[in-house]
Amino acid sequence: MIIEQLPIINLLLFLFMALIIPLLKRKPFKITLILGFIVLILVFISSGYLLWYVNNVEIISYTFGGHETRFGIEFLVNPFSALFTTVISGLALIIYVYSSGDKTEGIEKKEFGRYYVLLFILLLSMFGILYTNDLFNTYVFIEILSITTCAIISIKKKKDTYTSAFRYVMMNEIGSLSYLFGVALIYMATGFTNITLVSESIQTAFSAYPFNIIIALGFMIIGLGIKAAIFPFHIWLPDAHSSAPSTSSAILSAIVIKVYLLVMVKVLYSVFGLDILVEMNIPIILLILSATAMILGSVFAIAQKDVKRMLGYSSVAQVGYILLGISLLSLAGLEAAFFHIISHGLMKTALFLSVGEIIFYKKTRKVNDFDGMGFIMPVAMGVFSIAALGMIGLPLTSGFISKLNLGIAVLENNYVIFLVVLILSSLLNVIYYLPIIILAFLRNEKYHYRMTTIEHTPKTMITPLIFLAILIVALGLFPNVIMPVIESAAKTLIP
């Protein structure tokens, strides 16, 4: 059957594209761009079809080489992985279209090809992480993802990118090896690396070898926490995300850290199961971490003078929101977290891309230089404002819906204190996003209504931005369109 092979075909399409780019070196660069666009469209369609298929027909399981799942690698396409691969490919498509007009800021012309090679391998590894149902295979894909993200940060020939990439690679590698240690301990106690088989035998393993499971849980949470920039381990994120080219920052902030959070969801819910987590008091620990992330991430963001660093710290706070939803261990909490992953993906992409456009034309990234920017670059600043209002959580944007869902989920579990933290964090968001909007649109009358000062930007950069803004508002107005898929994705993890 061809449908069973679709997930592998998705991965192979990315790999094919990554391999063919160096071969097209002597041809005009447009051919590469168009081919990449076709590949992304194809993958988007096929993952969308898979999403429909697994929700309406059946879950797809594919074992490589026909080995038993005990020995071989299994790809599992369930509503969870199908939903997020669709989201990732959609966001990647938008960012790709933007990056083709952007001339990918700060990268030399002969490096363009390499940038796209890295981009496609990055997408390949993220798809692999989501599809695979094997803990060790997840590790391999995580490592591919680490190397390509580090390389995509350090591709810009600037001094500070090297040091921030080095810090990132060190932190990341500690995280990966911790995760691998956790896998080793689980393998020692259960004898499997396949997630389904592990989850069947983990309860007996827990009563026989409790220390193994506890230490494995600790190692895996810390390892994935470093990679997902959960609060005390976030120190690499602002440097790495601010020194990377704008399109890479968008990918890193909107997609890559989310993928690690999704792995964490998989590990917590499918591998260990709720009983062990509750027994170990993991939810309380994670809740406290997420609350500190929500407050301190926003507090750090207020102090930043550089827009991209500010957005980086804001991501730290947003990871806190998602972690809050995950650690409630309830269906409503998980749904809220999934919705926020999608809506934050849209908003952060919009923010980074619009800031990227401003950096591209105005060569400035200081918050103070945004004076009157709304009259010079109305589209970019308009999209920035919509996304920033979404981050604050104003009604009519998707940010409002995700905060509403989170608030309801928190109240369901009677954690009123975290509702207070949620509102406080939203107010802190106001403090650092609103001044930029005020500075750009409401001050400095000298640019007022003079069409000649408006910058002309290429259509390939403007269209994705407008599309993102429309999506943010549409998701805020009609959240029920995607709620059923999110619900079924959450239900695969909490039976």
């Binding site: 580090c150 040091t163 080793a184 393998y187």
Partner: protein, 128 residues
């Protein structure tokens, strides 16, 4: 006393693996020399790999190459060793990548010491 020594001897592989992991972690976190930190990463990785291989070991087992003539032989578990082959390749590629970054850092800053680097970077930021 004898019991403790017995436990240590029995689990020497695991203890060695955890010791290597911790030594490596200490080097990565404490040292300021970038090359040494990469070495620490490798030591950490070796610790995890030793742990994995030690899981696969079966007392009295032989190499898992099936010989039809000799029946009733206990084989060691080959799966962890196979995992580790992949793991070694991954760590080598990470090492290569980070060493190439160190070369770039040295070309730009003329130092591979973390402390001097952060001093240089903060000086540059103050200049602007």
């Amino acid at each position: 006393m004898k019991e403790i020594i017995d436990i240590i001897v029995e689990n020497i592989n695991y203890i060695g693996a955890i010791a290597l992991f911790l030594i490596g972690l200490r080097i990565v976190v404490i040292h300021t020399n970038l090359i040494k930190r990469i070495m620490g990463l490798n030591i950490m990785g070796t610790g995890v790999f030793l742990f994995f291989v030690a899981i696969g070991n079966v007392t009295g087992g032989v190499v898992p190459i099936v010989d039809p003539e000799s029946a009733n032989v206990i084989y060691i578990n080959p799966l962890p060793s196979v995992f580790i082959l992949t793991g070694i390749v991954v760590v080598v590629s990470i090492t290569v990548y980070s060493l190439s970054l160190v070369i770039r850092i040295y070309e730009n800053y003329n130092t591979i010491d973390q402390k001097e680097l952060s001093d240089l970077i903060s000086e540059e930021n103050n200049d602007h």
